[in-house]
Amino acid sequence: MSAGTTTSDAGPLAELTGDMPAEAEEPTRWAVLRRSGTFWSGTTIIGFWALAAIFGPRVVPWDPYATDLLHELAPPSAVHWFGTDQLGRDIFSRVIVGSRDILTIAPLATLLGTIVGTTLGLAGGYLGGLVDTLLGRIIEVLISLPLIIVALLALVALGLSSVTVVIVIGLVFAPLIARTVRAAVLGERALDYVAAAELRGESALAIMFIEIMPNVMGPILVETTVRLGYAIFTVASLSFLGFGIQPPSPDWGLAIAENYGVIAGGYWWTVAFDAAATASLVVGVNLFADGLHEALAA
């Protein structure tokens, strides 16, 4: 991490000395990212599903919600590319539109977790003391429980809705993100620019958010993309369990929950495409995160 001054009062001298290496670093990172096959394959997959989420409802051949009881459980054909489900709904249309809810809830949960987690991590790392000790204990307890189980408990207690799913996942992620941010902050805290800001009499808040935060954006960004992968994983699993996205949404996890009872009868298409879609999205997000991580580590 570069420790270049980030305040606006950096004069021409600073440009000549301190900021030079930092600027020379930027193009190489960008070059690594541009050449990264991992990053671009991830971006392509995410891009595809994002487009599906935005424009899907307008371009799919069938109404994803329309039931057709005369053609239920029809195998894939020229008319219904991915076949139909137990209610005769077109699975291709549902898989495309099914990206909508998960691509809304998972990123929102990640965003909430990042905001709360970054604040906690900055406070824990910079202020230390009680905040830090408390944070450590909370993390200890959180990692002793599987994420799905914490989420189940909180969702039963708070009641089920998309908003509670976002809040619960966001708040469970927050301490985990805080741990990463805290570690990065500890590395910055001892640097001269922080001491200089303290001498200038800047408030602790200003030092945390204006001085330190821009210098730990790299780890925050990587952590956020990694968490987004986990958020998709978690929301999909919760929807499968009946505690996430609710019917009649064409969500993939929900669709698998609705249809896996009939696959023993050989109706594989009712779950196979939703499973493949879920897998492609989590893999896409993780490829994106890996590419970003490599580039920032360069």
Binding site: R137, V141, S144, L145, I149, F240, G253, I263, A275, A279
Partner: protein, 321 residues
């Protein structure tokens, strides 16, 4: 050395107890305080206010929080986990039976994943940088992030529906022998193996590479020992230590996966018990199940740390935190 280990162990146990206490607070808050009006949550919005008050009184949730907590934790210490709202009978026997079933499933999963992933990680490390290494590492990482319900569907479709070589339900018929039970446990174990493989293989690979680069390995090679012997005697022993710790921490993820896998394969373990309790708003059952899962995890990490320190006492100072 011994007394040092004893002191370390005592500190480590007290930390575990502290975590367990905090966990009980979290579970208690989630199960009894957060729902606000437990009676209302159970009876629904249309129920009569007097019925709600009566139920609250009967359940004891109209008492102050601290009294409730002390009552609950006191019961726990006497092995009394409360009474299921759904079955009107003590929770503990249900949890005990479910835990045994889950442990059987977890044991099968670990028996497959531990040799497989350690082998994979060591091979990847010995062939570091080659196509074999990249394949193992990439496969491990990609499989780790696939949700269990997705890999379960693949297992069911592939082995249960198309090839018809494995059962699609994990529940074996009454009186089935151990081999038949094992046959039923393999399909649900596969998704758990798939998700664990990447983590453990990565640790085994990193540990092996570190050991390969260590001075003692160089000395052994310079001494003229054959490569196979160096790997066997010096590298593997040191490489596998960190792997023990990771396997223990994986139990938490494993149990999380159990919720999904047990539901899909219709297996009455602790995961499906927790889900059923959550669906039925059976709070005592839910709290008991979750606390059990947490305790199992805390116990597993404690044992793993103790094993690691016992094998390598130099680790003690860094593992107390």
């Amino acid at each position: 050395m011994r007394s040092g280990w004893g002191a370390w162990f005592a500190r480590r146990i007290s930390l575990s107890l502290l975590t367990l206490f905090l966990l009980s607070l979290v579970v208690f808050a989630g199960g009894q305080l957060l729902p606000g009006n437990v009676g209302r949550t159970i009876l629904g919005p249309l129920a009569d206010a007097r019925a709600v008050a009566a139920l609250n009184h009967q359940l004891g949730v109209d008492r102050p929080a601290i009294v409730q907590y002390l009552g609950w934790i006191g019961g726990l210490l006497h092995g009394n986990m409360g009474e299921s709202l759904e079955f009107r009978s003590p929770v503990a026997p249900f949890i005990g039976a479910a835990l045994v079933k889950s442990l059987k499933l977890a044991a099968v999963a670990f028996m497959i994943v531990v040799p497989l992933s350690i082998g994979g990680g060591v091979v990847a490390a010995l062939k570091a940088g080659t196509a074999i290494d990249r394949t193992i590492s990439l496969a491990g990482l990609s499989l780790t992030i696939i949700p269990e319900f997705v890999s379960s569907i693949v297992v069911i479709l592939l082995f249960g529906i198309w090839l018809r070589i494995l059962p699609i339900s994990a529940s074996w018929p009454e009186g089935a022998g151990p081999l038949d039970q094992l046959r039923h446990l393999i399909p649900p174990a596969i998704p758990l193996v798939v998700i664990q493989f990447g983590y453990i293989a990565r640790m085994a690979r990193a540990g092996t590479i570190e050991a390969l680069e260590a001075d003692y390995t160089r000395t052994a090679i310079l001494k003229g020992l054959p490569r196979a012997l160096v790997v066997q005697r010096h590298v593997l022993r040191n490489a596998l230590l960190p792997t023990i710790t990771v396997i223990a921490t994986q139990t938490a993820y494993l149990v999380g996966g159990l919720v999904v896998v047990e539901t899909l394969f219709r297996y009455q373990g602790i995961g499906s018990l927790i889900l059923t309790a959550a669906r039925g708003k059976d709070f005592p059952m839910l709290e008991g199940g979750i606390l059990t899962v947490g305790a199992v995890y805390i116990g597993a990490t404690l044992i793993a740390d103790a094993l690691a320190v016992l094998v390598n006492p130099r680790l003690a100072p860094e593992m107390t935190g």
